[in-house]
Amino acid sequence: MSIATELSRRNFLKTSAAAAGGLALGFHVPFTPQAVAQTETPEINAWVMIKPDDTVVVRIARVEMGQGTLTGLAQLVAEELECDWAKVTTEYPTPGQNVARSRVWGNFQTAGSRGIRDSHEYVRKGGAAARMMLVQAAANEWHVEPSACTVAKGVITHAASGRSTTFGKVANAASKLQTPNDIPLKDAKSWTIAGKPLKRLDTPDKINGKLVYAIDVQFPGMLNAALKNCPVFGGKIKSFDAAKVEQMPGVKKVVQVADTGVAVIADTWWRAKTALDALPIEWDNGPNGSVQSADIAAAQKEGLTATEAFLGNRNGDARAELASAARRVEAVYGVPHQHHVTMEPMNATVRWTPDKCEVWTSTQNAESALATAAQASGLPTDKNEVFRHHLGGGFGRRSTSHDFVRYAVLIARQMPGTPVKTIWSREEDMTHGWYHPTTQCRMVGGFDANGELTALHMRISGQSILATVNPNALQNGRDAATFQGLNPQGPEGQFGYTIPNLLIDHAMRNPHVPPGFWRGVNNNQNAIYLESFIDELAHSAKQDPLEFRRKLMANHPKHLAVLNAVAEKVGWGTPPAPGVFRGLAQHMGYGSYVAACAEVSVSDAGVLKIHRIVGATDCGHAVNPQQIEAQVEGSFVYGLTAMLYGDITVKDGRVEQENFDTYQMMRMDEMPVVESIIIPSGGFWGGVGEPTICVAAPAVLNAIFAATGKRIRQMPLSKADLRKA
């Protein structure tokens, strides 16, 4: 056994508590049916392996980062497999295996609330096909028709002859059978494992310290690296004085990283960081060293009324109608840059030799991580491999860019044969992010003489994510993702109102601060702009915000149903407790329909208290209701944290906030009571990890207006004066 495979085996042993099963087998054994048949854990198909003791190993292509997808996907496979849920374990296939097997596991990307909604069909078919093959194997052994056999909880029974066997006993024979062509799936109404509020599979190891996150990986002889990149985006490293720190305790080497950074490699990370902090470094700040936040805002402001803009959604002639409207309402909103702040800072462990590059990391897209590793390692793709760990938070940071893999590989290349773990300090992490894009939005509404809303122009001005992250995805320069939640139709967010004259467009203004996909992405600010302004229009027309929306939503029954659900739950129309005020919001995104109603009070001193927030979700099919509730609750925290505190500012080209002391998070003392209504209306599959984020802030902002008469249009709230107008 080579050292490389020995390392991989150790890694397997360390992670096996979370991913019990055959990662090591998968690593050592080529996935040909012949080879599989000789192993002790027969692979029935790519999704299901069954051990002789009936343990079921479900392969999970997407990654677990807190959203519960590991458990949900396993439920879907187990439902069709008809196995014993108590015997289900999971493991991650590697991207190298996926490449070698013609992408048998499909897409590894775990983003856009797609884990379940994009893979439910093929994973269920994987479970169903495996069950059919297991039954066929038993039937063959008994010389009976498979249709004469029944299966429940991993036990196959032939009632007529009184015989029964278990999955584990026939797995080997089943693994040699052909995959059936016709694989019918169950109706959701007959589910017994999927659709149930089962406990997560990953909880026990998350409460005893045993789960090995990527940052916890340990190998014999492993070294640790601390990294600093130029604090100004687009800048470079000019020089560093390695001699000043080379004699410090534990230091092995000081290395330049690409043309932008420097790292200290030491026996421990603390010693590496201590030496890096003492290292004299000169930066070349490049062309962006004089950019300030005010410059970025000024460019956006210019775009609010610019002639040129990319079209998002249009019907009628909003400009003409607004020009002749009996009454116009106008407002400008804004959202600043925000940081992802995964609790686990960026990190990766790499062992590089001239023949092989192995990476252990937290990634939302292991296939991209593999491609990045191959670029940085200088080795062909099949000489690279990425081993996945559960993420200590992702939120889009670990899908937008794999810079953390690139730098770790570039560092480890300078220590051939030695595993090197590179950890970004919190300060390095916060100042070198891929930030939620900053935009402003000018909203103009027009009423006719009868007081009916006849026109709306929504002009978004500011940063595009795709223009920087994936310019190939632009359509003649237009970033379609900018219009999430504002589209005429489609699962990525259908506009929920019917307005006779509508224009939604985007003046792209890209600052030098790199943008990223940030949990909820562009839905977040689009919902703040739209749902706050709809509330403004309702108040300006002296109409109840719920009734005003209902009139505009008659053609959007699914949007309306979740809004009505929260209104009914809070008792909209009945008086809240004294001093408490309510606000509403609704949105569609990631295939799901969501709404929220917040109840807040604001003291005379301007102190906000969010008492309760009620959320409703129609995600079509609800695979694990208790985990959907957890995602709704977590989404409120994510959205409200952004609303309250999210504000990354730029001074002299660099991010000013470095840690939690200057970049605050919502904590327990600010948590409202959360009530969640799940309305799985069937017929479609929507995501749940993100949609509710979008309605959190506008529901609270509308409630603040109800409480104070103040319309807060610039985020974050921490900069606003909430004392009554």
Binding site: I207, G209, M343, G393, R426, V637, R667
Partner: protein
């Protein structure tokens, strides 16, 4: 050299005296359940018990700890998930990504040790650890659940 009592075992470690306890636990001792989140005692992911008191180990230099003091990490809370807080966490399926949960659990265990029947307000004021996934309400419910089960 420092002598530290960690989870009932005396450890001798060769470190600079200003090394934070967190990194000694993680790198010299090899117990990785205690997490690095911020390094400035803000987030609480590194919380351990020192003589029963919840302490943010990232900002506690190892030189400030004597060998008589008893350090307990998440790995030492119970051998088998049997601590009332762990049982409650299991019962309510609290963690999401889980990265902050070692610290949350150690903070909650210390809270119940000092205040067996905390009010909502006491829980909110004592539990200041950051959870980016937003498990706060389940944490609060689990603390109350554990408190009730402890009689």
């Amino acid at each position: 050299m420092a002598r530290l009592s960690i989870n009932g075992t005396m450890r001798e470690v060769e470190v600079e005296p200003d090394t934070p306890l967190l990194w000694v636990i993680r790198e010299q001792v090899g117990l990785t359940g205690t997490k690095y989140g911020c390094g400035i005692a803000q987030c609480g992911a590194c919380t351990v018990h020192i003589d029963g008191v919840a302490t943010r180990s990232c900002s506690m230099p190892v030189s400030a700890i004597t060998e008589e003091q008893k350090i307990v990490t998440i790995e030492g809370l119970s051998p088998d998930l049997s601590h009332p807080i762990q049982k409650a966490w299991l019962e309510l399926d609290v963690p999401q990504c889980g990265y902050c949960q070692s610290g949350q659990i150690m903070a909650a265990a210390a809270l119940l040790q000092a205040t067996p029947k905390p009010t909502d307000e006491q829980i909110a004021s004592e539990m200041t650890n950051i959870c980016r996934c937003g498990t706060y309400n389940r944490i609060k419910a689990a603390i109350k659940h554990a408190s009730a089960n402890m009689g």
